[in-house]
Point group: C2
Chain length 317, copies 2
């Protein structure tokens, strides 16, 4: 029988997910029973086998779906889903890892790293001022770029930056090798890691350990003039401490995520001259690539093989 | 006997070249007789074995150095040296290929590719206008980037762009393979190459064949909204045709090189809103890395082994 798959994300996106999931199934030569209407009865909910989920979806009580074999978060970050008391503990929750999300994130991060590295805004200003004077940026081999979080996203960014010959360093909970770069792990290594990082990239999950990780003391460990690119979650940085650090110590920040989203119009970050605000668009799950990945996992599950990218609830990601 | 090496570039740079050449020799455990004063007599000129040369150097008559075993151009582009009637035909001229030059060029080109790809200026404008609206750029896998010229510089840029998952194409005189990309060769292939290129990078040498290569007809072959990055030589693009194409057809251009340099203050390119002028700084030979490369070749030559990167005078590079 065709696996029963429930889409439980934003209603507006349901048609695209239907199209892409059915296309992926067709390509794979399998059938799925794709549903996007919230189950009307407990019995209907109980027969759902796979759930595609976002924290802003229509299911008021996720525990009604506890029979499901897996829930796929359509977002890479799962902290909001994990905070819901109705999330069934017995059903594996899978965080989104898919090529479109990874490529888009790497594109965003690398564009802003190159922008800070080469000094795009200074370049544009000199051109507008009709100035012809030699200014050579340092070479990538002499530019220290640090990444906090070395999962699917951070790991991909690290690998590309190393191939672009940056002096890449990564910090993570447990030590991870960075081909062509240097790994740091644990709180004890954080001061050394931060003190050498000229461009800092945040791609860690929001957990009890990473919440407020970049407080005033740690921001002060960054070299004067350092840049921050936060494409992870707002609360990993203490917003008040960041605002203070931007007024003198830091060179600037590009922020895609915030404590409150959309960023309120009166939030002082908007008016900071050295802050670039982007509206949580650094990357997005793309149904055309994500559907194939979800289907691949559904088929693995149906064959009795283990699921991948399962969230460890105690770890928080 | 220590090889007699004459530095014949700008006098201001002589001390740095002396330091770096002697350092490179010391590291290699060899001696060189490094001179930076122009030879006072014909006999003194005749005993020079290797010359480090720029077209703005102090030697009025290069033919006095015809005894040299090799002349090293300190610049990657040799068209001005080749145009000098006093350049001795019997002495191999070597164009500069060295890691610092390559890395700096790749940094510059990739920064501007990423800037156009992700839309950095639009990003900055939206942030300044406090706009929170979802705009996702296309993924690198769907962005067609074309490179004209696939030598040491163009080849390195192509390889890095392919690793960043761009849809990379390269056009060159003779067909070159691009790992992960697609090669085009010869004039017949130029229309197809141009018609698909959203971001065009120029890294070809200036020769009789490339002068005026991008004329009005060829600029019109680029898709509407295409961007150009010229880090090669100004005259490869017809400047008048470029100005016309920038007024509607092209999305914009970043230009590091011009028919006349410095770019005169009244040149209309300065005032073009979609043009970024950089003052021939895309890359530069860095003595600290170039000296090792020159010394490596001097040692090869002294052992009787063939020189590399020798300019083919009929080809022009």
């Amino acid at each position: 029988m065709a696996p029963r798959v429930l889409y439980a994300g934003l209603a507006a996106d349901a048609p695209e997910w239907r199209t892409e999931m059915l296309k992926a199934a067709h390509e794979a030569g399998v059938e799925i029973d794709f549903r996007s209407a919230p189950p009307a009865t407990a019995a209907e909910a109980a027969e759902i086998e796979y759930v595609l989920l976002t924290s802003d979806g229509p299911i008021a009580d996720l525990s009604t779906l506890a029979n499901a074999k897996a829930m796929f978060s359509l977002w890479a970050g799962v902290e909001t889903l994990l905070s819901r008391p109705d999330l069934p503990a017995s059903t594996p929750l899978i965080r989104m890892v898919e090529p479109g999300l990874t490529i888009g994130m790497t594109d965003y991060v690398l564009a802003h790293v190159m922008r800070y590295h080469i000094g795009i805004e200074e370049t544009l200003e000199r051109s507008r001022a009709k100035r012809w004077d030699d200014v050579y940026p340092p070479l990538s081999i002499n530019r220290k770029v640090g990444i906090i979080g070395l999962g699917a996203l951070g790991g991909d960014v690290a690998e590309r930056l190393a191939f672009l010959r940056f002096d890449v360093r990564g910090w993570s909970r447990s030590l991870k090798q960075i081909p062509g770069g240097r790994g740091f792990a644990g709180m004890d290594a954080l001061p050394e890691f931060l003190s050498e990082t000229e461009i800092l990239i945040l791609l860690a999950p929001l957990t009890t350990e990473t919440k407020g990780l970049l407080n005033a003391a740690r921001l002060a460990m960054l070299p004067k003039g350092a840049y921050i690119i936060n494409a992870a979650r707002g609360p990993i940085i203490d917003e008040g401490a960041l605002l203070a650090a931007l007024d003198g110590h830091l060179g600037g920040a590009t922020l895609d995520v915030f404590d409150e989203e959309p960023l309120p119009p009166d939030n002082p970050l908007w008016a900071c001259p050295n802050v670039t605000v982007t509206p949580h668009i650094a990357s997005v799950t793309r149904p055309e690539t994500a559907a194939r990945e979800i289907l691949r996992q559904i088929r693995q599950s149906e064959r009795g093989e283990p699921l991948e990218n399962v969230v460890d609830v105690t770890r928080g990601y």
